[in-house]
């Protein structure tokens, strides 16, 4: 029952390099409004990732070019859960996380939904069934599997999706997550963004010819998809979600992505508001793999795209970021005493004591030198 691609070249595509449906390709039927929204979210993700990169906050460059792959979440329902990796900003925007929330989290101010607890790009949105992100690679995999198994135990038909980079496939967590999922037939979709890029370097992560082939060792189907082709990603994700929802178990999706911008690291100290206007020119990926270029081509092919529409989208996005940053920068940091909240449901004595100590230290006139 285990399907895996016959060869490395067996990569699902729907669109050609310019966004026209390939001859003979099954084209998924996606409503026009949804297609337009996909383009909009991909564009916003691109801009947001780039701006955040330029101010050295909350995004690695490596995520640029992965916008279509991040939209593997698009065919999910709102009740389904997502366990994202560290730079799947598109998944957040798709589900309704706002740019203001994004910026508030990035700056860690008092309005951050996570209360300024984590470094940039480590969001959490319970109301969107988007699970809190951590840095250690791969840890979200067994967690997604547990949630998926729980959904079945509770006789709900929710599906879990988790996203991760190809380097995460080297972790023990990948292995135990995949293995438990297959043994339990958990309704879980594993989406690996294979960019050939890990952190700052291009380390060899595996001697296997494909990531999808790893599925075989778990008795799970594995599929490869062109991660720059938003329609193909939609299609394989839809199939995997349907399988999971029908009780047929998990799927591993290997999405081949690429690293878009080989621009140098920005200097420290760039400011948001200065950087925003200068980003416009970088919006386009010079490579024919650009997922935005392809989806744009498809939309044009359908008569859904115009230069003016895209320009408006981009400008609205810059505008939103500008306003969000301006607002965010006016917001205070979380109150000092909140440092001790949420360690436990109810604060135990030792944290109450430590909070009192900290408040006393911060009280006016408390400097030990003045005594």
């Amino acid at each position: 029952m285990v399907a895996v691609p016959a060869s490395e070249r067996d990569v699902r595509r729907v669109l050609d390099d310019d966004g026209k449906p390939l001859p003979g390709a099954r084209v998924p039927s996606i409503p026009d409004a949804t297609l337009a929204r996909m383009f909009e979210v991909m564009l916003r993700t691109r801009i947001l990732t780039r701006v955040a990169h330029e101010v050295r906050l909350g995004a690695h460059l490596a995520a640029m070019g992965e916008e279509a792959t991040q939209l593997a979440v698009a065919p999910l329902g709102a009740e389904d859960w997502v366990f994202p990796g560290a730079c799947d900003h598109g998944a957040w925007l798709w589900r309704g996380y706002t740019i203001q929330q994004f910026v508030d989290q990035t700056l860690g101010n008092a309005d951050d939904p996570s209360k300024g607890r984590q470094a940039p790009a480590h969001h959490a949105a319970r109301w969107l069934n988007l699970v809190s992100i951590s840095s250690p690679a791969g840890t979200q995999l067994p967690q997604a599997v547990g949630a998926a198994h729980a959904a079945r135990k509770l006789a709900r038909d929710d599906v879990m999706m988790t996203l991760f980079g190809e380097a995460a496939t080297s972790t023990g967590e990948f292995h135990v997550g995949m293995n438990f999922a297959a043994v339990w037939k958990a309704p879980c979709v594993f989406v690996c963004r294979n960019s050939g890029w890990a952190g700052g370097a291009q380390a060899v992560q595996t001697a296997a010819r494909t990531i999808a082939a790893k599925a075989i060792g778990y008795g799970m189907p594995g599929v490869r998809v062109d991660g720059n082709d938003a329609l193909a990603v939609w299609q394989v994700a839809s199939e995997a979600i349907a399988r999971a929802r029908a009780g047929d178990g998990p799927t591993l999706i290997e999405a081949l992505t690429h690293v878009v911008f080989r621009v140098p690291d920005p200097p420290e100290g760039n400011s948001w508001l200065e950087m925003i206007p200068t980003i416009l020119e970088f919006r386009e990926d010079p490579s024919p793999k650009d997922p935005l270029h392809r989806l744009r081509g498809y939309l044009r092919h359908l008569g859904l795209w115009s230069e003016r529409w895209e320009t408006e989208l981009a400008e609205r996005c810059f505008d939103e970021i500008t306003r969000a940053v301006a607002a965010a920068e006016r917001k205070p940091a979380p109150a000092t005493a909140t440092l001790f909240d949420d360690v436990y449901e109810h604060m135990p004595w030792h944290l109450r004591e430590q909070r009192a100590y900290l408040e006393a230290q911060h009280a006016p006139g408390s400097s030990p030198l003045q005594k």
Binding site: G146, F180, V183
Partner: protein, 324 residues
């Protein structure tokens, strides 16, 4: 009231809570049909079925990792780790994930997982069936750590742990799993987390212990009594957050404290208790606080009884603090 040993008390707690709360599930290696390596889950599979008593492949990171996901989604998982010594493959999931989920999400994602695991030596288990790793988890903000010493507390504390909303590491004293017997209500009750028990009141020296060492402390106290020394024995029961009030009250009363634990001495939990007590009760202390602990070696095999604290050693420390 029925008599139970610790295994039976644990099983009774699991059964009680599984009947009361359909969200409770048990998972781990061989916890299902087989009933667990120490039989703590035996019978649960028959009563609650494979949906709620879940066998897993051999992977502690998977057991805890999936338990986290279950808890996030709304279940109340109670994973079992076969031996405390095998908890380390799950260390990242416990320390970086489970303990931090509530905090890192700004309170959005509580993660109520109760991890049960047997700890301690004296069963000829060698390095890998004997360790007492409590200090590692007490040093991890976001976790609670519970370590009962007898059947009554085991059931009551486990029920309390399963009913609160923070992750708990529940350490069971395997050497006395069967040897420790006592009256345990068949029905429902809880023992509040964070409360120590004075298992033997006394006036001259306070001996603090937990888990399998409470028995040793009590034996030492009995020896001391024969020698005319009145010893108060405190069973800490919950190690994080620990009952500072009980400790300080006793230390202020006796002025002399001995801590007993099985884990290696250096950076063990005894050190924290000493630090916390001297910070608050220095003026009352008549002597340094002494420790009777496992040695700073890996847990040995042939010499395990030389390694483990015994009543004689505790008695030596009691004398030492009195003669100081």
């Amino acid at each position: 009231m029925p008599t139970m040993n610790i295994i039976e008390a644990v099983r009774s707690a699991l059964q009680t809570q599984m009947r009361a709360d359909p969200r409770v599930v048990v998972l781990g290696e061989d916890v299902g049909k087989f009933g667990g390596v120490f039989r703590a889950t035996s019978g649960l599979y028959d009563e609650f079925g494979a949906d709620r008593v879940i066998d897993t492949p051999l992977a502690e990171a998977g057991i805890v990792g999936t338990a986290i996901g279950m808890a996030l989604y709304g279940l109340r998982p109670v994973p079992e780790i076969q031996f405390g010594d095998f908890i380390y493959p799950a260390f990242d999931q416990i320390v970086n994930e489970l303990a931090k989920f509530r905090y890192r999400s700004g309170g959005q994602y509580p993660c109520p997982v109760v991890i049960r695991t047997p700890v301690g030596g004296g069963i000829r288990g060698g390095h890998y069936h004997s360790q007492s790793p409590e200090a590692l988890f007490i040093h991890t903000p976001g976790l609670k750590v519970v370590a009962p010493s007898n059947p009554y507390d085991a059931k009551g504390l486990l029920l309390a742990a399963m009913r609160q909303n923070d992750p708990v590491l529940f350490m069971e004293p395997k050497r006395i799993y069967r040897a420790s017997r006592g009256d345990v209500p068949a029905g429902d009750y809880t023992v509040e987390l964070g409360q120590a028990a004075i298992v033997r009141p006394g006036s001259q020296v306070t001996v603090v212990a937990w888990s399998g060492m409470v028995e040793i402390a009590e034996k030492a106290a009995a020896l001391a009594e024969q020698a005319g020394i009145s010893v108060e024995v405190i069973d800490l029961r919950t190690l994080l957050p620990f009952d500072i009030d009980a400790l300080i009250a006793s230390a202020q009363k006796t002025g002399r404290v001995v801590i007993v634990h099985e884990a290696p001495r250096t950076c063990g939990f005894g050190a924290e208790l000493i630090a916390s007590i001297q910070e608050r009760a220095m003026a009352h202390l008549e002597a340094p606080i002494f420790r009777v602990t496992g040695f700073d070696t890996p847990f040995p095999y042939s010499l395990e009884h030389e390694y483990l604290p015994n009543p004689d050693r505790v008695m030596t420390a009691i004398r030492q603090t009195l003669e100081w």
